[in-house]
């Protein structure tokens, strides 16, 4: 990438009230010469401030405020805008970098603005790039600037103890070896994590499958057990229900038996009644039957006896009733015949009675008459009784019929004997106990199933994850293999890059050190070893001896340092970015200085070189005699502390 600064404008920045420099396109070397503390370094600072917003080479004694004291004291210019503008060209694209600042008494209220403009169709247009630093990075990345902007005096300090570490770091940064190393480091991290995942996933999978198989078997067993138990439960409960219904029936039957027994008892009772009624009925009928059949004859007989009685052929019978009557009447004193009735009368009548009865011929007829009357009365009076008996008999028979029918019905309804009921009750009790046990077992089954189902789900989820894990394992394994390969490639690349880098650096250092200073007789070789130590070999008396860097003179070190910077610049890929060297040949001996100045135009080929020289006769002479290739500027400080810059013609 070809980068050139075409114009620099500085306004109100430190000692520069207004400086505008246009850099010739046909030259690559731009020299700024001034005494100390005039402001040479601040030009570099201004450029740095414009691009990066900071001043890396600011003198420690200098104020933080960019506005110079002179300007700050002037009321008109106190709040003037500080502005630095760099017009650059990067690969034929013109870019304007502009940073401005309005400083106030409160730094928090300072207004700092950075803009980038692109030249398009004859006009500058503000870039639409949201991050203007993009264009800064294109010009010169901030991380590399110290290889392009450096104080020359500091170069000799590059080779203190442990310089090789810094050198290695810088070489690797500019050559992107660091990037490769960081990439490898990053890939290593990913590899480690991948390996961890791989290791983790491996044992998991086998476990889960095994556990899942086991729990599925368990679940099936539990389910089978549950189904079986439920079937048994249904069967038992059905049986119990059936038995209970039977028992109900039997209880009903027991009740029926009880009722039947009651019925039988009633039946017996009624039959007893019936028997009595029938006996009485039949007895009465039997007794009356002959007289009933002979009723007419009895009537005739009775009539005839009454006739005899009327005719006197049938004497009255002195009966005991007649005597009793008389005895009763005794109390009243007189008999019907008029005689007084006393004890003697009664006794004599009793004797008389015996005699009459023993001799009367027709007394049997008298008796018969009495009997006839009684029989007749009995036949008549018996009607009601017999009728009642008959009614009783009919009713009782009806009752007996009913009771018998009932008994028969009841008998038919009774199906099982009492022992069956008892057996049934025992069986029901046993079944009830069994049902309780089964229900408990079922509950346990269900709990086991719930638990196993939950575990199964977890395992299935785990398996899904495991499936995922399997896929992940394959993925991670593949990833690991890939990573290993990539890391290997990167390591090869790193090895090659390091080797190449070191080689380039070695060559560059050798080439430029040789050009700048090399005493070919004295130095035979210079290179970077594996540890990034610069090895200087000298031929002393035919022997190749390594020259310790500490034994180099200051000038030699500066030259070595320039060579190093050159090498770094070449490695960075920004080899055509302008270089700013502040005080490049201070503190080096004249011989080296001359060689340096002589080599200067070609030292940084294809790129702009901005050198800020401390005022020096030899340098002034050099510049004057090379104005055809050098664009030179003189810096002078005025009384007001501000610096002016005039082109050296």
């Amino acid at each position: 990438m070809k980068t050139r600064i075409k114009r620099l404008e500085i306004k109100n920045y430190r000692q520069y009230e207004h400086l505008e420099l246009n850099f010739d396109d046909d030259k690559n070397l731009y020299a700024f010469m001034a005494r100390n503390h005039v402001g040479k370094t601040n030009i570099i600072n201004a450029i740095s401030w414009c691009l990066y917003g900071d001043e890396p080479f600011k003198d420690k004694n200098e104020n933080d405020k960019l506005l110079s004291a002179h300007l700050a004291n002037n009321r008109d210019t106190k709040y003037s805008k500080i502005k630095v503008t760099i017009e650059a060209e990067i690969d034929d694209h013109r870019i304007l970098y502009k940073r401005s600042l309005i400083e106030t008494d409160d730094a928090n209220l300072d207004q700092n603005k950075f803009e980038v403009f692109l030249f398009d169709n004859g006009d500058w247009k503000e870039s639409e790039e949201p991050n203007p630093n993009y264009f800064v990075e294109k010009f010169l990345p901030k991380s590399l600037r110290y290889f392009f902007m450096f104080p020359g005096e500091d170069l000799k300090n590059l080779f203190t103890d442990g310089y090789e570490i810094n050198l290695k770091k810088n070489v690797h940064i500019v050559s992107n070896v660091t990037l490769i190393e960081e990439t490898i480091k990053h890939l290593d991290q990913i590899l480690t994590e991948t390996e961890k995942e791989e290791t983790r996933l491996h044992p998991e999978l086998g476990d889960v499958v095994g556990q899942l198989t086991s729990i599925k078997t368990q679940l099936k067993q539990d389910n089978d057990s549950l189904i079986k138990n439920k079937e048994v439960l249904i069967e038992r409960e059905s049986k119990i229900k059936e038995m209970r219904s039977q028992q109900d029936a039997i209880n009903i039957h027991k009740e029926l038996i009880s009722r039947m027994r009651e019925t039988e008892a009633r039946l017996i009772s009624e039959e007893d009644h019936l028997r009595i009624y029938e006996i009485n009925y039949k007895s009465l009928l039997g007794k009356l039957a002959p007289f009933v059949f002979l009723y007419k004859e009895l009537g005739d007989f009775s009539m005839n006896l009454y006739s005899l009685e009327d005719t006197g052929d049938l004497p009255p019978k002195v009966t005991s009733e007649f005597i009793e009557d008389l005895i009763v009447k005794k109390n009243k004193g007189k008999c019907i015949c008029g005689n007084i009735i006393n004890e003697a009368s009664v006794k004599s009548l009793e004797l008389l009675l015996k005699d009459i009865n023993s001799s009367a011929e027709n007394m049997y007829l008298y008796d018969s008459n009495i009997h006839l009357a009684r029989i007749s009365r009995e036949i008549i009076s018996s009607y009601g009784l017999i009728k009642e008996l008959k009614t009783h008999i009919i009713d009782t028979k009806a009752k007996i019929d009913n009771q018998s029918k009932l008994k028969k019905e009841l008998s038919m309804k009774i199906s099982h004997e009492g022992e069956v009921v008892g057996t049934l009750e025992d069986t029901i009790r046993r079944y009830d106990e069994e049902v309780d046990k089964i229900k408990k077992t079922i509950w346990q089954n269900e709990q086991d199933i719930l638990s196993a189902t939950s575990i199964k789900k977890e395992l299935e989820d785990k398996l899904k994850e495991s499936e995922m894990s399997k896929k992940l394992l394959v993925f991670h394994s593949t990833k690991r293999e890939l990573l290993e390969e990539i890391i290997k490639k990167y390591q090869e690349l790193l090895g090659e890059s390091v080797k190449k880098t070191r080689s380039i650096m070695s060559n560059t250092i050798r080439v430029y050190f040789k050009e700048l200073f090399w005493d070919t007789v004295e130095f035979t070789n210079i290179f970077l070893n594996e540890n990034y130590e610069i090895i200087l070999e000298k031929n002393i008396g035919g022997n190749i001896v390594v020259q310790p860097l500490t034994q180099l003179s200051g000038g030699e070190k500066i030259c070595l340092g320039y060579s190093l910077m050159k090498g770094l610049a070449e490695l960075s890929g920004f080899s055509e970015v302008p270089v700013f060297i502040d005080g490049p040949i201070s503190d080096i001996d004249e011989g080296v200085k001359e060689t340096f100045l002589e080599k200067l135009p070609t030292f940084m080929m294809k790129k702009q070189l901005f050198i800020f020289f401390k005022a020096d006769t030899s340098i002034e002479r050099y510049i004057s005699s090379n104005l055809n290739i050098i664009q030179a500027f003189r810096l002078e400080k005025r009384e007001n502390g501000l610096t002016t810059v005039r082109e050296w013609n």
């Binding site: 007794k287 009356l288 059949f293 002979l294 005739d300 005839n304 049997y364």
Partner: protein, 146 residues
């Protein structure tokens, strides 16, 4: 009983065996006749009603006459009166007695089969002995009411 002439109530042996005894065997079941004498006398009544005499070939005793109760005596007297339409047969002399009991005997001989038939072989459609007696009692009651 004041009438005498013989000691026992007599009946033909065959009649007794075939009918009286048969009825006597079931008298408890029938409930109508308390004793064999009642069967005998009812037989005599049936014989009287049908006006059939039947002499005995071989006489056997049913009961001693002095053991008869008042109702049984009355039946005999009534039959004796009904036969002659006078009390002459009922006189307490031996001759009258013999004649009376002969009458009863012959009536019983003829009446026993009839009674037996009624008691033992009644059909379901015809009334039984009790029903016939009851009907007669009802008839008497109705007559008496009017």
């Amino acid at each position: 009983m004041k009438t005498s002439g013989q000691r026992d109530l007599l009946i033909d042996q065959n009649i007794r065996d075939a009918f009286i005894d048969e009825i006597d065997k079931i008298k408890d079941e029938l409930g109508i006749f308390s004793e064999k004498t009642d069967i005998y006398l009812m037989s005599a009544i049936f014989g009287f009603i049908n006006k059939v005499h039947s002499a005995s070939k071989k006489k056997v005793s049913i009961r001693q006459i002095h053991e008869l109760n008042e109702d049984q005596e009355l039946i005999i007297y009534t039959l004796g009166y009904a036969e002659k339409k006078s009390v002459d047969l009922l006189k307490p002399d031996p001759e009258s007695g013999k004649e009376l009991f002969k009458l009863i005997e012959e009536y019983a001989n003829s009446g026993a089969p009839l009674l037996h038939e009624m008691v033992m072989h009644r059909s379901d459609n015809s009334k039984n002995f009790e029903e016939i007696v009851w009907d007669k009692i009802k008839e008497i009651h109705e007559i008496k009411k009017t």
